[in-house]
């Protein structure tokens, strides 16, 4: 007769099977096809040459353009993740505290998700243009006489990416902070810690799992973004998604587009692994001895 533990484990495995099947068909298989496509052909003088080749990867690493754009993509993803984290903490704490204010903050954070990213990006383009609201305010408040245009710069892409992806870090952070027993913070306060110290010694360490998930989401979404950099970066600061789109749709060079996409996936996965491992270590270090 099957033991209860074994039956539980079997039913668990059965429950997970549909999800695994879904990921195999709709995630793993397309990615393998993508990698496969990057090594079966190359474009030469506008004509596709078929045959096993690593030329697409050699080109991606030997032409500085692609390397620079990949570095820019990673840098933009990291900056968006860090800036979002800084903005997200106060919002997440407010949400975790609940009450009417917490519910209002939740609404404010989540509502922008209802608006299409294309519309939000065009709205930012109106705010950041040479004659946009930001420059109008800076000029009329006497802060700057002839402020530079932020539109079509990396700053514009960063600002809009933070706005678009902020909910993806606030919500996991709020969940992690909400799971911290209020008594821990109260005990720290009674022991003489001020708010900053409570944040640094209690909330921050205990919310690291939520932070890691949020950072990972914002980083991945920013690095893979196409619409926002395209509308606000003005092709002066494209991320790799823009170049992939160009290779596939404008130049019909699917193999090279696939090589760039494969590199993007590897890079994003690697950095996510670093995030998660780092978070694991930090949690272990900060919570070591907590039970003593």
């Amino acid at each position: 007769m099957m033991s209860r533990a074994r039956a539980d484990s079997l039913s668990g495995a059965l429950l997970v099977l549909p999800a695994i099947g879904f990921l195999l068909v709709f995630f793993l298989a397309p990615n393998l096809l993508l990698v496969g496509y990057s090594v079966i052909a190359r474009m030469e003088a506008g004509v596709m040459q078929y045959g096993l080749t690593f030329d697409n990867y050699v080109r991606a690493f030997s032409v500085d353009l692609y390397w620079l754009v990949l570095v820019r993509t990673v840098r933009m993803g990291l900056m968006a993740a860090l800036v979002s984290a800084a903005i997200a903490y106060p919002l997440a704490i407010a949400i975790a505290q609940g009450g009417l204010f917490g519910r209002v903050v939740t609404l404010v954070v989540v509502t922008p998700l209802l608006v299409n990213v294309v519309i939000r990006s065009y709205a930012w383009s109106q705010l950041l243009s040479r004659q946009g609201a930001l420059n109008w305010a800076l000029t009329n408040l006497g802060i700057a006489e002839n402020p530079p245009q932020l539109l079509y710069t990396e700053w514009a892409v960063l600002i809009a990416s933070v706005h678009v992806f902020l909910p993806f870090i606030v919500l996991p952070l709020a969940a992690a902070i909400g799971a911290i027993a209020p008594e821990i913070g109260q005990a720290a306060r009674m022991a003489g810690a001020n708010r900053v110290r409570v944040f640094l010694r209690v909330i921050l360490p205990l919310s690291v799992p939520g932070l890691a998930v949020g950072l990972s989401l914002v980083f991945s979404l920013t690095a893979a973004a196409y619409v926002t950099p395209q509308i606000l970066g003005g092709n002066f600061s494209p991320l790799i998604g823009t170049l992939i789109h160009q290779q596939v749709l404008a130049l019909n060079d699917w193999p090279f587009g696939a090589a760039l996409a494969s590199l993007l996936i590897v890079l994003v996965l690697s950095i996510n692994l670093v995030f998660l491992r780092g978070a694991e270590r930090l949690t272990r270090r900060w919570t070591a001895g907590a039970g003593n």
């Binding site: 500085d64 754009v69 040479r130 092709n235 002066f236 130049l251």
Partner: protein
């Protein structure tokens, strides 16, 4: 001739229509209930085709025409993606890719016998031995805010007085190839026809323009709107079809054609190989070339028709090069697309290295 519409004339017309209707339906009975999908452009041309041409065609043939908007390269990508199981019957593309589509076996020769409207087509607008026809000709040049004095030559745009004031077309769009020819012409002092073969050695001249470029744009419609708003002074190089409709509506943006010359931007139609409902597709392509479509299309979208014998209104003639003698007088330049298509990926990479790295 004017018709005075009173009760009696109305009665006669209604009776006539009633008698004629069954014959019209019988004439096109073969098309009843059929559906074709066509790829068209956006902008004012697409707007006119969706609003005027398609409903009239559907009513006359009792069929359904589904129109999907897209730019040339995106439309070619759709043809490639559906080559083994074609979904589109007619595709609208620029002249630049008509030869490419033929070479790749994506399109087929037009059946001239089933397209009586081809008779009026100017011969130079029948492409690749009958694999596509033009539908409208735009002028390629510089667009600018009407509040500034536009450049008289392309060479002037390299002057530092234009710093940060120029919008440059993206290499994703065909007019970027015109820009490369312009850079080669400015550097070499040679006409476009010779300069197009000197582009490889002219990227240093392209790089010199970078400080003057505010951004590299993908949408000509958006860029001309931004120039009208005063966010930049000029944009290069763009088709007049994206700009003149705004000029005509009173927006402060218009085109100028510097002394070095103007480019021809020719919009074409091709018949998809193994097209679903091929005969209906051919009938639609024929309709697109008929004077009943070409005249109002030209006057709405402000593009020159590729057929002879049209009497365009004065306003439209101010915006387009028509008839054929006017096109020849303006010396509109059409590049060697076969050479450019082979070089396009390499040139795009070099442009990216200058503007995107």
């Amino acid at each position: 001739m004017t018709i005075k519409l009173n009760r009696r004339t109305f009665g006669k017309l209604a009776l006539g229509a009633g008698v004629a209707a069954p014959f019209a339906f019988t004439r096109n009975a073969w098309a009843q209930g059929r559906t074709i999908t066509i790829g068209i452009w956006g902008g004012s041309q697409g707007e006119f085709i969706k609003r005027e041409v398609i409903p009239a065609f559907e009513a006359e043939f009792g069929c359904t025409v589904l129109a999907e908007e897209g730019a040339t390269l995106a439309n070619v990508a759709k043809l490639r993606a559906t080559a083994s199981d074609p979904r589109f019957s007619v595709m609208f593309v620029d002249d630049v890719v008509v030869g490419l589509c033929k070479e790749e076996g994506l399109t087929e020769e037009l059946p001239a016998a089933d397209m009586p409207a081809l008779e009026n087509l100017y011969p130079e607008f029948l492409y690749e031995g009958g694999y596509g026809t033009a539908l409208g000709i735009s002028l390629g040049g510089v667009f600018h805010n009407t509040g500034i004095t536009p450049p008289e030559t392309y060479a002037e745009l390299w002057d530092e007085k234009w710093a940060g004031k120029i919008k440059l077309v993206s290499p994703n769009n065909t007019p970027a190839m015109f820009f490369l020819i312009v850079a080669a012409a400015v550097k070499s002092g040679k006409p476009f026809a010779e300069a197009q073969y000197l582009v490889d050695d002219s990227f240093d001249k392209v790089a010199e323009l970078r400080p003057n470029v505010q951004n590299v744009y993908d949408s000509g419609i958006q860029a001309s709107n931004e120039v009208a708003q005063g966010q930049a002074d000029v944009g290069l190089i763009e088709y007049s079809k994206y700009v003149y409709p705004y000029t005509d509506q009173g927006a402060p943006v218009t085109m100028t054609y510097p002394a070095e010359g103007a480019f021809a931007g020719t919009n074409c139609q091709v018949l998809v190989k193994n097209a679903p409902e091929r005969d209906l597709a051919v009938a639609f392509m024929n309709r697109m070339l008929e004077p009943s479509v070409q005249k109002p299309l030209a006057e709405y979208a402000l593009i020159a028709p590729p057929i002879s014998g049209l009497d365009l209104d004065e306003k439209t003639l101010g915006y387009v090069a028509y008839p054929q003698s006017e096109m020849q007088a303006r010396g509109l330049f059409t590049p060697d697309w076969t050479m450019i298509n082979a070089k396009r990926a390499e040139w795009t990479e070099r442009l990216n290295q200058i503007f995107a790295a």
